[in-house]
Amino acid sequence: MKTARTGKAVLPRRTLTQLAGAGETGALHVEGEPGGIVYLTDGWVSYVESPASPGVGELLTTSGRLPGQVWEAAAASGDEVGPLLVAQGHLTQGELELCTLGAIYDAAFFVLSPAPVRVRFGAGERHPLGPVCQVDAGVLGRELTRRRRLLDDAHPSSDVDTGPLVAVPRAPVPRLVLSGAQWELIVHCDGQRSATDLARLVGRAGYTTLLELRRLAAAGLVTAAPPDEPQAAAPPGTGKPPEPKAGTAAGTEKPAEPKAGATPGPTAKPSPPVPRRATNSRRAVAAGGGGRTNQTEARLPRRTPGQQPSGPDPPPAFRDELDEALLTRIRSGLEAL
């Protein structure tokens, strides 16, 4: 793949414009972080793929739209995958086009980065998806500029774009409103997954995932994981490859994930003020920070917030109310005589 690279770094967008203007057909291999490939057909962009964004196959299988075997069988057939799936009735033409267009714009955002990188053009190379739709390189470039601006409007810092992310253990405000997509991301921010990992895991576009993460970062809900945090198992690079496999194999594993991700929640539970006994309540609060264990009672399980104190005596207020009601009824009964 890297046999005939050009020596000097160039802006991939400029190279693409030149190739499109010349009406070329082939694949523009773009190096860099994350890099990717832009496929051209007669000067039109026919497909783009990048390690940072899920491709058509991943979008269709992770969402459960197509079983993994169907996609793999189509990919292994040697025919043009897209038209084949439509011809055999697995997809409608509309679905294929929408999915492909979405994937092209999404991957292009990552491949055609504004930084100079080394590129190589393989003339005549075609993507196995086949002809589905064609995008004008100029339109694509303008849209990417607009998307980059949207991202900065949401949150001007790129600190959540790469590297592992973690959801803050304690909400910065007492009341939160999240969209469904944001919730999905929050529960999977485990201090090891990066934006790319999250996009592949939930089967959503890389750009929209990035946009939601920037919004969450702006709201103070997601931050870059501190560098010393990862538990030795996952240096940022190595965690990536297994994720898409797990996603494409079956969407069924997904429901289990949120629970695993959500488990850190209870640890952040605020210790409730326990009014049972004045002496104990103070110690219970202090036990968390000071670690005082001078009495065994301090280690009793704490009540969870909202749990009613259990005891033989109903609260006195409740009793008074009862008595009053009874007395009123007796009084009105007597008056009626």
Partner: protein, 142 residues
């Protein structure tokens, strides 16, 4: 004719249609558009449409009152026209809406809404007679 172009052409065939487009409501990008846009700057129109969809879907307290509920369409009525925005519910993640601008004098809102729903479902591969498209039918027949 391709899926997207075909869908837009059928939308323009709806009585009173002035313009139609398919818009990505995350980014405000028009995947496809035909006819006229309400303003001179089509990009601003798509961006504004995206904003309206996002406000309705996530910002409005009535948008998802119950589990499983979701916004199906948004209708804006002006003195001169109707603006219909239908969600395209693809199984995979796409976040698209189908937008139709309808002349108020020539168009029939109820008919157009129904036709647009069928187009959106056809585009998303939802089989006819199931899902969102069928919702009005069972309720009519109780």
């Amino acid at each position: 004719m391709s899926g997207i172009d075909d869908c837009l052409a059928q939308a323009m065939a709806i009585n009173g249609a002035i313009g139609a487009s398919i818009i990505d409501h995350t980014t405000g990008f028009a995947v496809g558009a035909v006819g006229r846009a309400p303003t001179d700057d089509p990009d601003a129109t798509w961006a504004g449409t995206a904003e309206i969809v996002n406000v309705a879907a996530t910002g409005a307290p009535f948008a998802s009152a119950r589990p499983g509920d979701r916004v199906e369409d948004i209708i804006i009525t002006t003195l001169d026209g109707y603006h219909l925005i239908q969600q395209v519910h693809t199984v995979f993640d796409s976040r698209l809406v189908l937008y139709l601008w309808l002349d108020r004098a020539q168009g029939n809102l109820a008919m157009a809404r129904r036709q647009l729903r069928q187009l959106a479902d056809g585009l998303a591969g939802v089989p006819a007679g199931s899902g969102a498209a069928a919702a009005p039918v069972p309720s009519a027949g109780r």
